[in-house]
């Protein structure tokens, strides 16, 4: 039985806190003497209600755009617009095989984006994702690793990715170095190490199981798309339905408050970067299969694509807010643009300009919505 009466002595919790008149009069004890100090049984509910009362109501449109669904709505609109343009300009756009091609192209950068979303929501940034993926792909496709079989290759890629993420996390959490610098250094070293191990050559994937990942289709849909969907599903559950995800939001929103609330911020930060590295490892196996090579040239500038997708998906660069679905929609928008341009036989330069314009517009829409919702 929730009782909204404030316990005496609890003052200054929220401006304009409702006086204890919300207690139904019938259950109030006869006030012959000062009422005993009854602790509120739903303090959290009272505080949230008071906070809601304190927040000024923004415009309906602003609140809609600001909500989780609304942020993604803008991106869905952009995607629908691109599809309309595609259907109008290219007659092969709306075919199943073309749509599957778009999804397959999006799968690798999408897996990476899942990891980067976690890191950015947690308040950090990871510039090394592209080259860590290259390093993992190179390490997993060396002659020695391939001789051990596909299981060892997969394990190797995941271990290298997680290991690089661990190094990142340790330096950021315990070394107290800014994430930008640490991951930048990791990007450069990972590329150097990848070039060293591969001798700057492309290492052909000879293992038939790994090579078959990209060509296998279940129910007509490529296996790569299934892997992508599985990673997104697990990531979504982890972000939105576990305490791990809640802690990520908390740490990204206000690390000091999170620390005072008892969260182990440093350990959690390390976990986030390990997760990002793990996603790079998965992407490494996918790209090794898709291109049939492991090479130090894989993943060039992928981090910019991933971060751009995360930002236009509605995640704050400073952390604390964001959605995974938004990031994935951002990836799909970019991949669809690439596909549209190739279908229309246009040059890549215009495509890059279009990408830049879309990023700016998307961020502008988000900033306006946030500003209007907070008055």
């Amino acid at each position: 039985m929730s009782d909204h009466s404030a316990a005496p002595g609890v003052t200054g919790t929220a401006p304009g806190a409702a006086p204890p008149a919300s207690a139904p009069p019938a259950s109030a004890p006869p006030a012959s003497a000062p009422p005993p100090a009854v602790p509120a049984t739903d303090e959290r509910g009272r505080i949230e209600k008071a906070a809601r009362a304190a927040e000024p109501r923004g415009s309906t449109l602003g609140r809609l755009l600001d909500s989780g669904v609304g942020r993604n709505l803008g991106l869905v609109a952009v995607l629908v617009l691109l599809c309309v343009v595609g259907v109008a300009t290219a007659d092969t756009f709306a075919t199943t095989s073309n749509l599957l091609t778009i999804l397959t192209s999006a799968s690798i950068i999408g897996v990476i984006t899942v990891g980067v979303t976690f890191v950015i929501i947690g308040g950090g940034i990871d510039l090394s994702v592209g080259k860590v993926m290259a390093l993992a792909s190179v390490w997993a496709t060396t002659v020695a690793t391939q001789s051990f079989g596909p299981v060892v290759m997969v394990f190797c890629a995941l271990a290298v990715g997680a290991g690089a993420g661990l190094v990142n996390g340790l330096l950021i959490a315990y070394g107290r170095i800014v994430p930008f610098i640490v991951t930048l250094a990791m990007l450069i070293s990972a590329q150097g190490l990848a070039e060293r191990i591969s001798g700057r050559r492309s290492q052909i994937v000879t293992d038939p199981t790994i090579a078959a990942i990209a060509t296998t289709r279940l129910l007509g849909i490529p296996l790569m798309v299934y892997i992508f969907a599985a990673v997104v599903a697990v990531g979504w559950v982890l972000l939105n339905r576990t305490t791990f995800g809640r802690r990520t939001f908390a740490i990204g929103g206000n690390p000091e408050a999170a620390r005072l609330a008892g969260l182990d911020v440093r350990r959690h930060t390390i976990a986030l970067y390990v997760l990002s590295g793990l996603c790079c490892g998965i992407a490494a196996i996918m790209i090794a299969s898709l291109t049939t090579t492991g090479s130090s040239t894989h993943g060039t500038l992928y981090e910019l694509d991933a971060i751009a997708a995360v930002i236009i998906g509605g995640t704050l660069l400073t952390g604390g807010r964001g959605t995974l679905i938004g990031s994935i929609l951002g990836v799909l928008v970019f991949t669809t643009i690439t596909n549209l341009f190739v279908l229309n036989n246009l040059e890549t330069e215009i495509q890059n300009i279009a990408k830049g314009v879309i990023i700016v517009i998307a961020v502008l829409i988000q900033t306006r919505a946030r500003r209007s919702s907070s008055g």
Partner: protein, 352 residues
């Protein structure tokens, strides 16, 4: 938050350490990479030029090897220099950054090497560097990507990019004509579009197709890497539900191109490659993919450049020619490799 059970904490730490060591050991075991022994393309000097002359130092600068062709350039140059007892080979750090290449070559100029072999990242941007070296009395052998001014080099040696395109277009045209195809859909996967050599190749291809009365269909640019080739081809195959022929400029990116083709399970067309890598030649010989031919652009030009640099530095001419001076411009011809003649060229293929 201290662990209430120190014993389990200790066991956990030990387990973690052992696990980490195990993973580390596995990873270290997984790095060995005996590359297949790629024979470098070297030429043995013949006749009078085989006699050791005055000892010369040859400087060498090339871009960083991000694909097999450039790696083969560096390997061939080093191997050829090793053939001569009178040559000291000074290679500077390979880099894709123009300013760094300028700085590196400056050190060679200061050292006053006897000859300089340069493959510039971009010919226009390094022309002034070539002129500086020539003005300092160092003969410059310009490899592949040509400088803007003839004052910047003593000798240019390179492949025939336009001729490469013409060879590819001629092969495509003849095959389609023999099959009697009307209005064929011909695709092209180019390399890095901003390079003049890519534009020259595309021009040659288009001109050759016009002479057969065919027109070029979808054309997209990749970036000489396997992942770029795969991505661009996957999309291009969607743009063209039916293709008759495809020319891919570079066999390194061709690995990705072939991967995309097999993933889309498309077999109705034939493909021509470029540059002549060993992988491509093996595929042509096996004849189990759409790749039926390739046009060479051999990185053996680096070996020839070193040989020329030695001759220039020692004031000798080329053996079979009458003149006592090395020519100022040598364009290497582009050969078309098909299943019939692949065995003769297989030894010259470079590993990707």
């Amino acid at each position: 938050m201290s662990d209430p059970h120190p014993l389990t904490a200790g066991l956990r730490r030990r387990g973690f350490l052992i696990g980490a060591l195990g993973v580390g050991a596995t990873l270290t075991a997984c790095t060995s990479n005996e590359a297949p022994a790629s024979s470098a393309n070297v030429a043995v000097a013949a006749g009078d030029n085989a006699v050791a002359g005055t000892p010369v130092t040859i400087g060498f600068s090339a871009p960083a090897a991000d694909h097999g062709w450039i790696a083969a350039i560096a390997n061939n140059a080093a191997a050829q220099a090793g053939q001569y007892p009178d040559v000291t080979f000074e290679a500077v750090n390979p880099t894709n950054d123009v300013t760094q290449q300028i700085a590196a070559v400056d050190t060679l100029i200061t050292k006053q090497v006897d000859a300089l072999v340069i493959l510039p990242n971009d010919g226009s941007q390094l022309t002034s560097l070539g002129r500086k070296a020539m003005a300092a009395g160092i003969p410059v052998i310009n490899l592949d990507r040509i400088f803007d001014s003839p004052l910047a080099y003593r000798t240019w040696i390179g492949g025939d990019n336009y001729g490469m395109g013409v060879s590819a277009g001629t092969y495509v045209g003849e095959q389609l004509k023999a099959k009697g195809v009307t209005n064929p859909v011909i695709g092209e996967i180019a390399g890095i579009d901003s390079l003049p050599l890519t534009q020259a190749r595309s021009q040659g291809f288009a001109d050759a197709l016009t002479s057969y009365g065919f027109a070029l269909g979808p054309r997209q640019a990749a970036d000489f890497t396997a992942q770029g080739g795969q991505r661009v081809t996957a999309n291009l195959l969607q743009a063209a539900p039916k293709l008759d022929a495809l020319w891919n400029h570079d066999d390194d990116q061709g690995i990705g191109v072939l991967a995309a083709i097999s993933q889309a399970a498309r077999t109705e067309f034939f493909m021509v490659g470029g540059a002549g890598s060993a992988n491509a030649m093996r595929d042509i010989k096996a004849d189990n993919t759409v790749l039926k031919a390739t046009v060479t652009y051999s990185p053996s030009m680096a070996s020839s450049a070193i040989a020329l640099a030695r001759l220039v530095a020692q004031n000798k001419g080329m053996g079979d020619l009458v003149e006592k001076e090395v020519p100022t411009s040598i364009t290497l011809a582009s050969a078309t490799i098909t299943k019939e003649n692949v065995d003769t060229y297989l030894a010259l293929g470079f590993e990707s």
